[in-house]
Amino acid sequence: MTVDLYQTPLRYGAVYDETSADGVTPRPHWAHLMESLREIGPEELGRRWSHAERRIRENGITYNIYSDPLGVNRPWKIDIIPLLIPADEWRYIEAGIVQRAQLLSLLLEDLYGSQDLVAQGHFPAALLYANPAFLRPLVGVRVPAHTYLHMLAVDLARSPDGQWWVLADRTQAPSGSGYALENRTIVSDVLPDIFRTSNVLRLSHFFRAQREVLTNLSQRKNPRIVLLTPGPYNETYFEHSYIARYLGLTLVVGADLTVRDRCVYLKTVDRLEQVDVILRRVDDSFCDPLELRGDSLLGVPGMVDAIVAGNVKVANALGSGLIETAAVMPFLPGLSRHLLGETLKLRSVATWWCGQQYALDWVLDHLDSVVVKPAFPSRGMEPVFAAELPDAERSKFAEQLRARPHEYVAQEQIALSTAPVWEDGHLNSRSVVLRTYVLNTGSGWIAIPGGLTRVAEMEGSVVSMQRGGHAKDAWVLWDSPVDTFSMLRPRNEPVELRRVSRVVPSSVADNVFWLGRYAERAENIARILRPLISRVRQAEKAELGCLLRLHSCLESRHSKLPKANKMSPTSLEFEQEIISLMSDVKRPDSLASTLEEVSRIGGSVRERLSVDMMSLIGQLRDAIQIGHGTQFLEYPAMLTACLELLSAFSGMERENINRGLGWFFMTLGRRLERAIYLTRQLREITTPLVEEDWSLLECLLEVADSSMTYRTRYYTTLQPLAVLDVLMADESNPRSLDFQLSHLMDLYQKLPRHLPDDLQAMQEALALLRSFDLRELKYPLPGAATGAHDSDGLSRLERFLRELERLLPSWSNNLSSRYFSHARTLPITIGQ
């Protein structure tokens, strides 16, 4: 009766089938599910499956596989058929993993403490000393009793005889519990009736306990707890943000934290807030570049010292990766008898650590029947199946083993049990591994009932999330009533109304500030490129000079113009430079690269942007596509389309974003960037224009989108001072310099703990700008004889703009120092 749902014929005897002993009758605990699935039928299951898929996409579940070209946004595959575990079997597994957690916790306590186990010969000294995961700075550091392991993950597999075996222990930053939680919400939603009638043990109890345990790790009343993630490019980032939200923790990356005076602080826009507990998903050695791995960009310099001083608690304790190696496994039965006085309940798969002479000899004799792995995983080495190697390589490999035996560990391979997965309208049989989780409550250990079931991509292949695969839920079918408490807020429960969203971490402010700057920069580059591209082909030699001056407003550091005749390139060279500026992703100052930056930064703050804004960012990334077949004629339209997207983006920024601190920083970035570009353009006018360059005025008006304003006032007469008035002094023109400075001042006044010196400098700059009376100014007109005295006012204006050009970036730096990196700012005032 179960067979009709299967697409592939089942093979019996070679592996353990979770659902059935003979391929016909389901095992008793599967009968209800199989019968219900049959009643629902393939069509309806297919419908529900696509519903689940949509929901996964919407939730943005991602599992980034490093080598996947689709990278960050590839949806992770979930299977809707849960793995079922009967109550008695779960009791057996639970007792086994809890005992294992107790044992490993005591082992860590000894190795980072008295090291009696080494002196008494229960644990080989070489396995400790040669292990790069043994973090010497953490030896002897006081850790609250038995809390080296906050959580332990144990990977289990079932052999053909039905026995469960431990494949691996994850001791430093076990991942996947969040996926288990997400799986549960989705599967119980897709199969609500079956879930309700199956009496499944709930997960929420575990996570409620975890929140409590983390709070208790600190002695303070309302401790600040953060979840430290390696960031959006990590393969389990989605899980980090999911767990952080579920447990109510602040999600941070290393750069969000800073160590001052032996304490860890969270950098927020308002202030530095002390961090009491860090739940970390960053591997041991990456946590502190100062004392551990110097090349790590994921950690917090000084974290180890803060731990040593007892000012912050980290879960799992730093250094716990020491025993995250299969090399420890052969010693666990003995350690269990010695430390716990018990025999080890769950056995590990047969493992040989080659650092022991007899183990090495055995492995060399049986090289074809084992898989060889690194004893120290941080050294990075793929598992070796010696049987698959050609003879020459095989003997070379044996040589390597003999040369550094303590670096290798060999394991027996288990034929994994199989469970059904739903694929293309059928059930298929796939190998599974169960990842279980145990939490240290301080007074005992509790397990997630079930865990995360990982499924091999193909039949019989190695199961690993990193290799690409599915995940499925695991249901523990309990034999007495279950507690149905859920931590997800029920829809009918009122929420407390809040107006101000919680803390804005500095990194978020930093990112949105640069999102504003880059979006504005892209717009300025595109605006300058547009007149260049439409004029360059028709330009006479004389007009080329004017276009060159416009080009110089970009201050391109990566110009492709030949060095020798930078000032007078041929029109072909200039045309190539413009195309490169538009589309060359290899030069950082091109429009294409700038748009890429916009999309990169946008991605890193995607939680703060609306779906529509993210979709615009996606379109912007692809806005400039120039291939071999692209005609020059198509470029202006492409630029216009790109400018339209950028306008839509800034429109959303103005109309759809809440005026919180995030918006302030985005707008600050925009204003500063626009002011920088404007100042450069204005300086082109204050350097007296020769007659051939007169049309530059027209270009500049076009760049500033102010041609209409100008024409309604002055018709077609182009005069430098009139253009200056529109672009510099006109306070009603949103693209004038005056407008940028007064808007910046407004924003500065509303910042928390604002920068008084910079605000004052800004006020002075604006006052100075307004003191220039353009009507009094004499502009040296081409052809007319002028005395030095006449252009005096103009050169004063020139000096002012030059000074402003120096000041604007320093204001940006000061914002960075004060709000993003929390350093002292140096006062900078405007010179006269």
């Binding site: 002196a119 001052r260 100062l290």
Partner: protein
């Protein structure tokens, strides 16, 4: 013999560094055959905080944080050490290296373990065949 040691490092940065956490391992140790009689550490710009800690190996580390923007950091250590002239062990009074290499892996006394751990690779330096070749020539 009295040694005065001056150790000065200047770091120059292309862009201003706003906050820097550092650790200096610049203080000589007092051991049976040499005595530290004086030491000082000068740091420019002056650090906002500065603490000392003894590390796993017994070295005295100085942790300091510079909290103002700077493009240059100067760390200068001055120390005075008295060294006994005849501190080198005589070959005849110590074990031949062949015996030491054989005995050490099985020596579980605390002195034995203390010595044994230095026989392994450090996280940064991998042992290479060239090292062995060089060492064998030097014997």
């Amino acid at each position: 013999m009295i040694y005065r040691i001056r150790h000065r490092t200047t770091y120059k940065y292309k862009y201003p560094v706003s906050v820097g956490n550092h650790v200096a391992c610049l203080k000589p140790r007092s051991l049976p055959h040499h005595q530290l009689t004086g030491s000082e550490l000068r740091i420019q710009p002056p650090p906002a905080t500065r603490t000392e800690r003894v590390d796993y190996f017994g070295n005295r580390l100085c942790f300091f944080t510079v909290q103002e923007p700077h493009k240059e950091l100067v760390v200068e250590a001055r120390s005075e050490v008295i060294v006994e002239t005849n501190a080198t062990p005589w070959p005849k009074q110590s074990l031949p290296w062949e015996d030491a290499a054989k005995l050490l892996p099985n020596d579980q006394s605390s002195a034995g373990l203390e010595a044994y751990q230095f026989g392994f690779e450090s996280p940064r330096i991998r042992i290479r065949p060239e090292f062995a070749t060089y060492a064998l020539q030097s014997i």
